[in-house]
């Protein structure tokens, strides 16, 4: 039966090739625009470490100006980073299972036998970083907690940096000069590209992870200032590194991993206790707002998905809607045009149900062709978007590569979406044509 219906639909396509092509094109365009927009949206907004959403938390405290909120739009909420003083105190707690405090530094890596000195964005962080964020290793591993204090000259390289410096070999145990100090390679990361870079969204969520990692305490020993964002509000004289570390300037990111709810309450109480103590000493003049924020809420609070993207998703669905309404109209026209043929089939004994199924098969065939074409168009469109970005990012290792490939799950969803949407669009015309009184159409023949 199905084969017969398929043959009938082919015959029907051949009867109006122009109309059929237009329909397939409309479906394909609607699907393509939807896939493109959703791919971009997904790359921007996805929680790249969703499996730890109930145990990973960003730590923030509102130490800001009593006269104004941190956010310029006046919305409440603590600043996204901590002062050195507060971070160090919170880091001393044993409650979290894992904890990191960190920032980035602009450095140069050189060394005999290595290529010419180059700039390497480096993250100063603590030993737990790699296990906490499930960072994959190609060679070696991170450093142990004992290398944190006093800081040992150990360094972890990204896969790309290892390729640049050592040609991709296992470089564990080799030495290099980081800011003209000797460091020993203890680990090389495998490909790791969390999108967005949730653990530090200052300066854009599409930034790449850093290319090198060293123990946090080097920052104080070598007096290294952040190359990321440093925000100060208190009018205070800062004329030495010691004064800076003691200031109300925020520049450190802190994350903790606490799986149990009870420990989280204890850590929250620990923060609040510290807050109360400091408030007595004249700090923390704003209302109490100490937070533990999981990754999902963090991305939302930090407005990682910008308004443009949400608008584009809306636009894509409006477009798909118009394409589908169009398809309903075209299908209706096409089916009713061939009502005489349907009349003959009905007169010869086809039931309404059979007519309905026959037309649905026709719609299904159209939708599969439309979906495939739509996927093709979408990958072309994404390549164009990528081209626009990469042309502007010449010489940059931009984070927009992610946009060019639609992942397997994405493709599956797109195909399901396409077929479901078109079938839904075909339901009414297929039903309607089955309801036509056959006699009327036979009469004029």
């Amino acid at each position: 039966m199905f084969a017969y219906y398929a043959r009938l639909s082919l015959a029907s396509f051949r009867r109006n090739p122009g109309l059929t092509t237009l329909m397939v094109l409309a479906i394909a365009l609607g699907i393509a625009v939807c896939i493109m927009t959703l791919t971009v949206y997904h790359a921007m907004s996805g929680n790249p470490i969703w499996w730890k959403n109930d145990r990973l938390y960003a730590v923030t405290m509102d130490n800001w100006d009593p006269k104004q909120t941190y956010n310029h739009d006046g919305s409440l909420g603590p600043p996204p980073q901590l002062t050195y003083k507060d971070a160090m105190h919170l880091f001393s707690s044993d409650i979290p299972e894992r904890k990191v405090v960190m920032y980035t530094v602009d450095a140069v890596i050189s060394g005999t036998g290595l290529p010419a000195p180059t700039r390497v964005e480096t993250r100063l962080t603590s030993a737990d970083f790699f296990a906490m964020f499930d960072v994959p290793f190609l060679y070696g591993s991170g450093w142990s907690g004992s290398a944190d204090t006093p800081p040992q000259p150990v360094i972890v390289l990204s896969r790309q940096e290892n390729e640049k410096l050592f040609g991709g070999i296992n470089s564990v145990g080799r030495t290099l000069r980081w800011k003209d100090h000797e460091f020993r390679v203890v680990g090389v990361l495998d490909e790791w590209m969390p999108r967005p870079r949730f653990y530090d969204v200052n300066g854009g969520s599409f930034q790449m992870p850093e290319d090198a990692y060293i123990p946090f305490a080097w920052g104080k020993d070598l007096e290294l200032l952040s190359s990321g964002n440093t925000d100060c509000w208190r009018p205070e004289k800062i004329d030495s590194v010691a004064e800076f570390l003691n200031s109300d300037c925020i520049w450190l990111q802190m994350w903790v991993e606490i799986p149990e709810a009870r420990s989280r309450e204890r850590f929250q109480a620990f923060m609040d206790g510290y807050w109360a103590e400091q408030r007595k000493a004249g700090r923390f003049e704003r209302p109490r707002d100490n937070r533990l924020t999981n990754v999902g809420h963090w991305l939302r609070d930090r407005k990682v998905v910008d308004t443009d993207n949400r608008v584009l998703v809306g636009l894509a669905f409006a477009f798909l809607a118009v394409c589908l309404i169009n398809t309903v109209g075209l299908l209706l026209a096409k089916f009713l045009n061939a009502a005489a043929v349907t009349g003959v089939r009905r007169a010869l004994g086809a039931s309404r149900r059979q007519i309905f199924v026959q037309h649905l098969v026709e719609v299904g065939t159209l939708s599969v062709i439309g979906a495939l074409l739509g996927l093709g168009l979408a990958s072309l469109g994404l390549a164009a978007v990528h081209h626009m970005y990469s042309a502007a990012h010449l010489g940059h290792r931009g984070g927009y590569q992610e946009l060019t490939h639609i992942d397997a799950v994405g493709v599956m969803w797109a195909v399901i979406l396409a077929i479901a949407a078109t079938l839904a669009a075909g339901l009414y015309p297929a039903w309607r044509v089955g309801r036509l009184p056959p006699a009327q159409y036979l009469k004029s023949q």
């Binding site: 800011k179 004329d239 118009v322």
Partner: protein, 408 residues
């Protein structure tokens, strides 16, 4: 001959599915068209805001010392001497950050000592060649003198201010409304004073399109901070047409002239300016393309419905022609029918467009949709709708009256 709308309307109501579908498409198309165009125009306006900076003739050099032996002050002097000696270069300065790049520094600036301010003002540290290196226009006062250029800040002396500053006219109007800013005192957050000696106009700073007042900028006569391997920026103004040649020359020379430092990059300033507006540009192109496709698909819908209506009514058309209707009457009939459908869609679309516009204004914290866009969108869609129905209507008018007499 019948001009009245009533029979057309009653014919439409007897067979409304197709008409409703087309009206829905037109409604959505109108809502999208009007709002998309509004957003695109705002982006274009944003990108067109004059920077005051000679973007096309400036090169940005970023470098950093990385060894203990690196001596920033003599190294910078030597580099600037070299850059200024090049025949294709008109001016060069060392500075702390790249203008128009989305990254920069800001500090409090108030008109009373120890007053409180909610705003941080964007600043650039330059020397006496700074104005020429950026291609800025001094509209009042004077430039910095060579002897006014302060040594760089150090970690041990990080709060020092400068005695003189040059400000943009926009900042002057904010700090000293309706007064002459020249000679006035301004203060930093801990009450140190500086005198305004010059005014430039226009000038955009580090964050065009990203903050409320990207043109509130001031210049400080000071060498940039370089301790701890901080990146150092040179801005090099080249003669027209010399930019690419100078880029290669400077890159080659600087990367080998001092082994204690590395040159990160030499790039045209245009690169950074384009990068900062990249999101707006992509959004504009995307919106424009999708809207265009949407209009095309809608046209297709109008065209298909009209064609269908014509083909199912061949006999009726023949009959009307046989009893005396002229070709023009037939064309008019189909255009009026199409006009009724389009107008219904447009009416619904207006409400939809205003609704979407309201939602967007909440999202973007922008003024409500400009009604001119709505009027423009209505006219455009109406015209396009009628155009799409024109060909089927013409075909209908070509139906011969003899069709009415045939039975098959």
């Amino acid at each position: 001959m019948n001009l009245s709308v009533r029979p057309i309307l009653s014919a439409l109501l007897r067979n409304r599915t197709g008409a409703v579908l087309v009206a829905m498409q037109i409604a959505i198309a109108l809502a999208v068209l009007v709002n998309a165009l509004y957003i695109v125009m705002q982006r274009i306006e944003k990108m067109r805001q004059p920077t005051g900076i000679d973007v096309d003739n400036i090169l940005v050099v970023s470098s950093a010392g990385f060894t203990e032996r690196y001596q920033p002050v003599p190294s910078i002097e030597q580099d600037l001497r070299y850059l200024r000696s090049l025949p294709g270069v008109t001016a060069a300065t060392a500075t702390n950050s790249i203008p128009l790049s989305g990254g920069g520094s800001a500090q409090t600036l108030v008109t009373q000592p120890n007053a409180h301010s909610n705003d941080s003002m964007n600043y650039f540290e330059v020397d006496e060649h700074g104005l020429d290196a950026l291609g800025l226009h001094l509209v009042a006062g004077r430039n910095f003198r060579h002897d006014e250029i302060q040594p760089p800040l150090t970690k041990a002396e990080a709060s020092r201010f400068v005695p003189q500053i040059i400000i943009t006219r926009a900042l002057a109007q904010d700090l000293f409304p309706k007064q002459d800013p020249l000679g006035k005192q301004v203060y930093d957050s801990i009450g140190q004073a500086a005198t305004v000696i010059g005014v430039v106009d226009p000038m955009l700073g580090s964050w065009p399109g990203m903050i409320a007042h990207p043109d509130w900028v001031f210049l400080m006569p000071r060498a940039p901070f370089t301790e701890g391997g901080n990146s150092l920026i040179y801005l090099v103004h080249t003669q027209p047409g010399q930019r690419e040649a100078m880029l290669r020359l400077i890159e080659t020379h600087l990367s080998s002239s001092n082994p204690e430092r590395v040159v990160h990059f030499v790039r045209p300033l245009r690169y950074f300016r384009d990068l900062v507006y990249l999101g707006d540009r992509t959004m504009g192109i995307y919106l424009f393309t999708v809207t265009l496709l949407l209009i095309a698909v809608t046209c297709l819908g109008v065209f298909a419905l009209a064609t269908f209506n014509v083909s199912t009514r061949t006999k009726q058309i023949g009959t009307r022609r046989a009893v005396g209707a002229r070709r023009a009457d037939i064309v008019r009939y189909f255009l009026i029918e199409n006009g009724l459908i389009t107008s219904t869609g447009i009416l619904v679309g207006c409400a939809l467009a205003l609704g979407v516009g309201y939602w967007l204004s909440m999202q973007y914290e922008l003024p409500r949709l400009n009604l001119y866009y709505l009027v423009g969108g209505v006219l455009l869609l109406w015209a396009i709708g009628q155009l799409a129905a024109w060909q089927p209507a013409r075909r209908a008018s070509a139906v011969s009256p003899s069709v009415a007499t045939r039975t098959v």
